[in-house]
């Protein structure tokens, strides 16, 4: 369906994104403070959305794009909720 060049390029992009997830995971495990970990989780969510977008190009299937939209919308909500929780904890 998609040409060989596009398939190879999307595979390379998936590899780079996977590497980025790994680096974010290092920050998630090491992160000295809670906000560092929260930002790392947010980054992993956004990278997952990006990976699914690239996957939809690789598979030539537009259905995956909606999954990416849902992840992008919902992971933002999780970050807001955790930020609120942290803010509340510091007040006490």
């Amino acid at each position: 369906m998609t040409s060989e060049l596009v398939r190879n390029a999307s595979l390379a992009a998936l590899g780079v994104l996977a590497l980025a997830v790994l680096v974010a995971m290092v920050r998630l495990v090491k992160g000295p403070s809670l906000p560092d970990r929260v930002v790392a989780v947010d980054l992993v969510g956004m990278l997952a959305a990006g990976m699914i977008g690239v996957l939809s190009i690789y598979a030539g299937n537009g259905v995956y794009v909606d999954v990416a939209i849902v992840i992008a919308l919902i992971s933002f909500l999780a970050t807001v909720a955790i930020a609120r929780y942290i803010e509340r904890r510091e007040v006490r």
């Binding site: 849902v70 919308l73 909500l77 609120r84």
Partner: protein
Amino acid sequence: MRSIILSTVARAMLPILIMFSLFLLWRGHNEPGGGFTGGLVAAAGVILFSLAYSPRAARRVVRVDLKTLTGFGLLMAAGSGTVAVFAGKPFLTGVWWKLAGPQGSTIELGTPFFFDLGVYLVVIGVTLSILFSKAEEEERP
């Protein structure tokens, strides 16, 4: 505590999320999506509103009492199953009607859609009542 950026974004995002959830509900017929995911996305929009303003303001946005919403959804899902019983088929079998659409086309409307709509309402009602009760418990000192 109250962030003006968050409250502005929440106000703009709520209609977008609800529109997207209706899109998911509609498309769940033949492609990925459906009542459950659609309901979760709609509930996420209202929860964002409740985080930005307050759970009380978010309850006002929903307008309907959550128990009524859940009960109505459950009734709708169960009712769509019993239609097949009256048609002489096993419970929850899909029954389809063909309606005349514009320009001589036909719209196929079936009980599976009403089942999905019922699931959509139940998911919104249950998710919001769980999260609102947590948020209101948190507000009380």
